[in-house]
């Protein structure tokens, strides 16, 4: 946990430069400050890092780990010292005027990312579509590529959830901490409808979406009047209530044990089975277990792209513009006659609907649902994807999902990490730790996310990038 202690403002460097005396790197002061940070780090780590509570039988005892504390403290010391050196150079550079530095906000040129994105988006899309074949070629076999296709499905599920939540958080500016409730509604809708009434996935999918949207309206309605952070807390409460009811309403949901043996997805009625009348038999090809996986992969890809497409189109409609206006300034919105109630409700409902789709896909993929898949942490992970990717940016959310969900899995397969950290090192253990720290770091350094520019929805003559400095969120 290191961060600049000097309160750096994120505002663009203005003309205050001439009042600041250029500072060269003051080693003594930096050393002193770094020692201070190290001392604080030592204080923070004393009980939690220095002693591990171990249990054997009913007894509890302590194991000291001073080596770990020493490593931690020296890392903090080193990082702080480097930071000082770096900041001194930066301050010096800022203090010396740059002829190219703009004194006023003017014509914003497309930045590097936007230049890339023209080719980047078709490129990423191509990768996503060709992914199973690429993996097949790289791994050299159907069975070898199973793990990677499965990972691809997982990532795409989170991309879809991220895009769904992005409608609520990124576009409408409503912080929803209970998004996973709609995911749960979708999953349980499919699980219950298919196991009790024997309905097929293709009927249940729209039903699950509608039910989730309905719940979005029910839960959204009471919270409309609330200000930003209260709204977040109430949605959190709703999310938890849904989970607790799923656990405790044993008659309907089978409680914590969950619902198992949910029917598998079919290829529009053709089951993925080896026998007569199956998918392979119908098309006259050889049966393979991976056919179902690849079908699921394209199914979630299609669902995710549908989410993206609908969102992009909605942004151009009056309702989408109203969402973005609401995010920027609610009071101005009301003064201009936008019906904020309807605007918020549609955002909740549409966001929830995509959550419901993703939920019913989750149920059909797993074949098993239990309330523990829908806890607050899941909401927090989806929120982390949206926040880290840049709220409101579609491609940013996709990148966020790939990095946050795929990253730890890839790290786990890297051999040299185990060599450094010793056997039994599992990056997944540190995944949430890094998510948490990442969310804080993101808010401190890049509050608008990795992709912080916005494509304007409405523009005159030509589309120009809007610098994040000109977009302000959440007043009122």
């Amino acid at each position: 946990m290191t961060a600049p202690s000097t309160t750096t403002t994120t505002a663009p460097a203005t003309t205050s430069a001439d009042t600041v005396v250029p500072v060269r790197f003051d080693f003594a002061a930096a050393l002193k400050d770094s020692l201070k940070s190290a001392a604080i780090a030592f204080g923070l780590s004393i009980p939690i890092l220095a002693f591990k509570t171990d249990q054997s039988g009913g007894d509890i005892f302590l194991t000291p780990r001073w080596g770990l504390v020493a490593i931690f403290v020296s890392i903090i010391f080193g990082v702080r010292l480097l930071q000082h050196a770096f900041m001194a150079t930066k301050a010096y550079r800022l203090a010396t005027p740059d002829p190219h530095q703009a004194t006023e906000a003017v014509h914003a040129e497309p930045n590097a990312f936007q230049k890339v994105s023209r080719f980047g988006i078709p490129f990423f899309l191509g990768i996503a579509i060709g992914f199973p074949f690429l993996i097949y070629l790289i791994q050299g076999g159907m069975n070898e590529s199973r793990y990677w296709v499965d990972l691809g499905i997982l990532i795409l599920t989170y991309v879809m959830l991220g895009w769904g939540l992005n409608i609520v958080v990124g576009l409408a500016g409503l912080l929803d901490l209970g998004y996973v409730a709609f995911y749960a509604v979708g999953a349980y809708s499919y699980a219950l409808l298919s196991t009790t009434f024997g309905l097929s996935f293709w009927i249940c999918l729209p039903v699950a979406g509608i039910l989730a949207a309905f719940w979005g309206i029910i839960l959204g309605f009471p919270v409309l009047r609330l200000r930003g952070d209260y709204l977040a807390i109430v949605t959190l409460a709703f999310g938890e209530i849904v989970r607790l009811v799923l656990i405790n309403w044993v008659d309907l949901t089978n409680g914590g044990a969950g619902i198992s043996s949910i029917p598998r997805a079919t290829f529009f009625g053709l089951p993925f089975t080896a026998g007569e009348g199956g998918f392979a038999d119908f098309f006259g090809i050889e049966y393979h277990g991976m056919q179902r996986m690849i079908f699921l992969y394209y199914l979630i890809l299609a669902l995710a792209l549908l989410t993206n497409f609908v969102t992009m189109r909605l942004r151009k409609l009056p309702v989408g513009r109203a969402w973005e206006a609401l995010r920027e300034d609610e009071i101005a919105c009301r003064s201009l006659g936008i019906n904020t109630t309807n605007t918020k409700l549609t955002a909740f409902a549409i966001g929830a609907m995509f959550g419901g789709f993703a939920g019913s896909f989750f149920a059909v993929r797993q074949g098993f649902v239990s309330p523990e898949s829908f806890n607050f942490l899941e909401s927090a992970i989806i929120l982390a994807i949206v926040v880290l990717g840049g709220m409101g940016s579609q491609i940013g959310v996709a990148i966020g999902a790939v990095v946050l969900v795929g990253g730890p899995e890839v790290l786990r397969n890297l051999g040299f990490l185990t060599a450094i950290f010793g056997a039994g090192f599992d990056p997944n253990e540190y995944r949430l730790l890094l998510f948490g720290a990442g969310m804080v770091a993101m808010m401190v350094w890049r509050p608008r996310g990795l992709i912080s520019e916005r494509q304007p929805s409405v523009f005159l003559k030509e589309r120009k990038a809007i610098s994040s400095a000109h977009v302000k969120e959440g007043h009122g």
Binding site: M1, A3, I48, F51, M443, V444, G474
Partner: protein
């Protein structure tokens, strides 16, 4: 009747723990208007600090007097948790002043996830029990059916130390210059700064005081339940936040009052309705209070300024 009195005692004990945590929420909200989502995890962390120092004192240093050990543990936990509170404010919240509105809340959620997983990674995911201590009870009276209404030593310790610390804290806020600065910042931060109050320092101190009181709550929680785990911060944190909102967020007596009410509701709900749905009750109260009476019992209604 006996069950009622017994639940009343249990509810007040639980309520004083919630009240102590709620003060941290209410003070931070009062001064910078943010929901410190990580406060529940600070509370959990303090319980771990207390557990570790309790083990050091009793098993390594061979201290036999439990009361003295608890007192020392309490002081150490308060100091170290305050350091955490200070560091969190410095790293995760201070740079965000003047950022967009949801930034501090998102950052606080990040801190919350970080803290609970930090403790999980550093200490393991299992429940951590304390050695059994203070098992003595005072039987207040015996009912006809043979049901004893008992007040345990633990409960006496918890309620007494809560009362004493609240008194000290009350004095601090009402009578000292620090308290005056704190109240001034709460009313108008810009004006306070113009009058020469170091606002950053005052906000830091608010976090320190909140964390210290959370540490008291953490130690008491450990004493009462005798077990703590890395995810114990979330639900008590939400309940304490509910208490703060119910009492009127920003109001200190309100936080304590709200804490006691939530504690009582929880125990009576568990005793008379259903223990499975006790957390549902807590979350529902939170939603209902926020939606229908966001200014709480003792709070001032918020005026929206343009």
């Amino acid at each position: 009747m006996e069950i009622f009195v017994q639940q009343l005692i249990n509810g007040l004990t639980l309520g004083s723990i919630y009240g102590l945590i709620a003060i941290g929420y209410t003070m931070v909200f009062g001064i910078i208007g943010m929901v410190n989502f990580a406060h529940g995890d600070v509370f959990m962390l303090s319980a771990f600090i207390a557990l570790i120092f309790f083990l050091i004192l009793t098993t390594w240093l061979g201290m036999t007097s439990i009361v003295l050990a608890l007192l020392i543990v309490l002081v150490i936990a308060m100091v170290l948790t305050s350091l955490w509170g200070w560091a969190i404010e410095r790293i995760a919240y201070r740079p965000l002043r003047g950022s967009f509105r949801l930034a501090p809340l998102i950052s606080a959620i990040g801190v919350s996830i970080f803290l609970s997983n930090f403790v999980q990674v550093a200490q393991g995911a299992r429940n951590k029990p304390t050695p059994p201590m203070m098992r003595e009870v005072i039987v207040l009276f015996q009912g006809e059916s043979g049901y004893n209404v008992a007040l345990s030593y633990k409960q006496i310790v918890i309620m007494a130390s809560t009362a004493v610390l609240l008194a000290i804290f009350w004095y601090l806020v009402q009578k000292t210059s620090l308290g005056r600065a704190q109240r001034a910042c709460e009313q108008d931060r810009k004006m306070a700064a113009l009058l020469g109050i170091d606002v950053d320092r005052t906000i830091s101190l608010t976090f320190v005081i909140g964390a210290a009181l959370a540490a008291v709550a953490g130690t008491m929680y450990l004493l009462y339940y005798g077990v703590v785990s890395f995810n114990d911060g979330f639900v008590p944190g939400v309940k304490a936040f509910t208490a703060a909102v119910l009492g009127g967020i920003g109001s200190l007596p309100g936080a304590v009052l709200g804490g006691l009410i939530i504690g009582l509701i929880e125990t009576f709900w568990s005793a008379y309705f259903s223990i499975e749905y006790k957390d549902v009750a807590a979350f529902s109260i939170l939603a209902i209070v926020l939606i229908f009476m966001p200014s709480g019992i003792l709070g001032r209604p918020e005026v929206e300024k343009v």
